[in-house]
């Protein structure tokens, strides 16, 4: 498979996963806001904080109202991680590699992009956030489901899967981190109904609440962390994502599990091993926030080594459209 095409499918998939997570995240927070007696900014601010783009938001929007946060995270064309920007980039990537993916995938992505461009979309997101974000999430899931059902398990598939899993691991760690930011202002909420509501919200943000309950019934911080970080079978748990991402790498390179033949496999293999032998007590001792920070750093490094291993090409001048068109059309 062409390196450029592999790179493009990988990012297409990362952007889709990112968009889906943002949609779910906003929707859960919208529901949480209805339950918690927090002021608007305390409730909506952390959504921006966990993205790491708080300063940009502050500078451009000022106050973290529900409307501002939704506008920023959903529609802002100048914020590269807004849902709209993610979908636009995913679609642009898909457009470049339409020959490598199924038409079904392209069409659902194209439709989502066209829908988001409608002005009615912005009105709906404010007026009925639940319906709107649920729909976006469903379209993203449709994309994932169609990929599962229409793609041969070839390299393109493994790169799509790899992009999705690395992105998802990172997002799950960030959802867990929201709790850290939410807790800080009111430490005496710990152990109150609000605490349990917040932990439930974290689970909902990762579509994990029901599956969690099947394993643990009661909400406890240790169990939530155990489930979302270390569960080997829940598809949004970090350990699951890392292990399956590593499998994708082995499928791509043909090397044996338990070994490595390139820096990407080495980086992910190490991270998988760390998670295989981790326990939650250590994490809390270490500080959950710090532990998650470290995980995110390692995931980023793994992503970089994927780039270096498969996609790094000798420098090429970027292609830019020229007004004095270089082509003739017949």
């Amino acid at each position: 498979m062409l390196s450029r095409v592999a790179f493009t499918t990988y990012w297409m998939s990362r952007f889709m996963e990112r968009a889906e997570n943002v949609a779910r995240f906003i929707n859960v927070n919208h529901h949480l806001a209805l339950d918690l007696p927090l002021d608007e900014e305390t409730q909506w601010g952390p959504l921006v904080t966990v993205t790491g783009d708080w300063e940009e938001f502050r500078r451009r929007y000022g106050y973290a109202s529900q409307e501002n946060v939704i506008q920023f995270l959903t529609f802002d064309p100048d914020y590269p991680n807004s849902i709209y920007s993610c979908i636009r980039q995913a679609r642009e990537n898909a457009r470049t590699v339409r020959e490598a993916i199924s038409s079904e995938l392209w069409e659902v992505l194209n439709q989502l992009y066209l829908d988001l461009q409608e002005t009615a979309a912005q009105e709906r997101a404010i007026a009925s956030p639940h319906d709107f974000f649920e729909e976006v999430r469903r379209e993203c899931s449709l994309f994932t489901g169609l990929a599962v059902n229409t793609m041969t398990r070839n390299e393109a598939w493994h790169f799509i899967r790899l992009g999705q899993l690395l992105e998802r691991a990172d997002k799950t760690s960030r959802m867990l981190d929201v709790k850290y930011f939410l807790l800080l202002p009111e430490p005496n909420y710990v152990g109150t109904p609000y605490d349990s509501i917040q932990w439930s919200a974290v689970l909902k943000s990762t579509s994990a609440l029901e599956m969690y309950r099947l394993s643990y019934q009661r909400i406890s911080p240790t169990d939530v962390v155990q489930f979302l970080v270390l569960n080997p079978e829940f598809p949004r748990a970090i350990r699951y994502c890392v292990a399956h991402a590593e499998t994708c790498l082995h499928k791509i390179s043909g090397s044996q599990p338990g070994s490595y033949c390139n820096p990407a496999e080495q980086a992910l293999g190490r991270l998988r091993a760390q998670l295989d032998f981790a326990d939650t007590r250590e994490m809390f001792e270490h500080g959950l926030h710090e532990y998650l920070d470290d995980l995110q750093l390692k995931l980023n490094r793994a992503g970089d080594s994927v780039y270096d291993t498969f996609f790094a090409l000798p420098a090429v001048e970027p292609l830019v459209p020229s007004h004095s068109s270089q082509f003739q059309y017949q």
């Binding site: 498979m1 062409l2 390196s3 339409r98 001048e317 292609l319 082509f327 059309y329 017949q330």
Partner: protein, 477 residues
């Protein structure tokens, strides 16, 4: 529906006779349309447009302010051609392509046609499309023009003329294939009763044509489509054809030439490429052989090509045969190589490089269409009767400054076909571009792209200038 009151307004109409009666081939469809409840055609048109957007069948338009993605406007009323007519068109196109291919081979090798004085040597060698780099070269099987899209127009007298031969990178075939898919959804009933010749096998035939060019020692040839990239207005087509054939779509920087072999950069290292359907003009193909400032091409690919290690379609240098000044000689070319009379007529053409012709052209600019010999897509063109006095004066100066670069033709009264415009059906001017593959035997796609000038009265059908397209139905006997 209002087709009952449709007016041909004195133009030759593809679906109606001069007296306003449906032609027999169009009768079944027109009856269907006439029986539809009001608004039904509009509803089907809207549904078709929505499908185009959903499928993202778009082309990109660049201008100074911004870049926009557009769908090529598509009209759901098909253009129809009788089987009998088609047989003649098909054999005429085969004849033309065969002769033009022999011409290219001759120009770059023995130059017999020039030595025999059939075409002025100066006219050929001065063409911007002439490539000295190809002198002495014979491509695989002696085939230069693997893929051609020839433009045909019907004049007021009902005669079909060849307007131009597009032999470099003719585009539009993807629209033919997609238009057909959409019309099958729009008029399923018509398809089951009307015996319309299929076009869907084009990608298979294109693939076979390309594979047959591979160097003979290669067992399982690797084929790729080479595109200038996502910014090219025909990118959709490049990607579409690659997808339909199941081959890689590559950009210049995906390829690398090593020891005169061409490779793709893949996730598993370098993989050899044997055949390239290149959708990049000669000029930009190889900065080492052609324009050194090209960023789109592949340095060294011409060396690999000349050593027979990679095949290129169409062959570099092919453009010499669709220079619009050479066009004027196509009938002589057919006679010279095949000893046959041309089956399809040419539009009378005045060469501005010829002093007598030039004088006539300058004196009759208000009646003529003037075209730059090496441009296409409706650019560099003057439609005399529709131009202002000033525009004509500007063109007159251009012609005097570089006479070799211009030809002129009488303004044809292009035929029309009924077209849905804002919910009404009105006549609009059309042309036709069938696609021809130089395989064995030469394949002519039954039908092709019917382009339609959507602006009332306009004769310019190019998509860059407000044109749209229609499906083309060639009926079986």
């Amino acid at each position: 529906m209002e087709l009952a009151t449709y007016e041909t307004e004195g133009f030759f109409d593809e679906l109606f006779t001069a007296s306003g009666q449906p032609r027999s081939i169009a009768q079944p469809l027109i009856e269907r349309i006439n029986q539809m409840p009001p608004g039904e055609m509009r509803r089907r048109q809207t549904a078709a447009d929505r499908v185009l957007y959903q499928m993202g069948i778009t082309f990109t338009v660049y201008n100074e302010e911004r870049t926009t993605e557009r769908v090529l406007p598509f009209d759901i009323i098909p253009r129809m051609i009788e089987a009998r007519d088609w047989v003649r068109i098909e054999s005429g196109l085969r004849q033309r392509i065969e002769a033009l291919n022999l011409f290219i081979q001759d120009v770059y090798n023995d130059q017999k046609i020039l030595k025999d004085g059939v075409i002025p040597t100066e006219l050929v060698l001065s063409s911007a499309a002439y490539r000295p780099q190809c002198v002495g070269f014979t491509p695989p099987k002696g085939i230069w023009c693997h893929i051609t899209g020839t433009d045909l127009v019907r004049d007021g007298d009902g005669v079909l003329y060849v307007l131009e031969d597009n032999m470099r990178c003719p585009s539009g075939v993807s629209y033919v294939l997609e238009n057909r898919q959409i019309l099958k959804r729009t008029f399923p009933g018509a398809f089951s009763t009307m015996k319309i010749q299929p076009v869907d096998d084009y990608p298979d035939r294109l693939f076979e044509t390309l594979v047959s060019l591979a160097p003979t020692h290669v067992d399982a040839p690797s084929v790729a489509v080479l595109t200038p990239g996502i910014f090219n207005s025909a990118y959709f087509e490049h990607s579409y054809l690659a997808k339909q054939m199941g081959v890689e779509l590559v950009e210049g920087h995906d390829l690398i030439v090593k020891d005169d072999w061409v490779f793709m950069r893949t996730t598993r290292g370098l993989e050899r490429v044997d055949v390239i359907y290149r959708r990049i003009d000669d000029d930009f193909l190889d900065p080492k052989s052609f324009r050194p400032d090209s960023l789109l091409g592949v340095p060294g690919i011409m060396d690999a090509y000349k050593k027979g290690r990679v095949a290129l379609a169409n062959a570099p240098g092919t453009g010499i045969a669709d220079d619009k000044a050479i066009y004027a000689y196509v009938h002589k070319i057919i006679k010279y190589y095949l000893d046959q009379d041309a089956i399809l007529p040419n539009v009378p053409t005045y060469l501005c490089s010829d002093p007598k012709d030039r004088e006539y052209v300058l004196a009759n600019l208000d009646k003529l269409v003037v075209k730059a010999v090496n441009e296409s897509g409706g650019y560099g063109m003057l439609v005399g009767p529709h131009a202002t006095q000033e525009e004509r004066a500007v063109f007159a100066e251009k012609i005097k400054g570089a006479p070799r670069n211009f030809i002129a033709q009488p303004t044809l009264s292009l035929s029309r076909a009924p077209t849905l415009v804002n919910g009404h059906i009105e006549g609009r001017h059309v042309d036709l571009r069938p696609y021809i593959l130089y395989s064995n035997p030469i394949y002519v796609m039954p039908g092709g792209l019917t382009r339609v000038a959507l602006r009332k009265g306009s004769l310019v059908v190019n998509s860059s200038q407000g044109g749209g397209s229609k499906d083309t139905w060639v009926l079986q006997d």
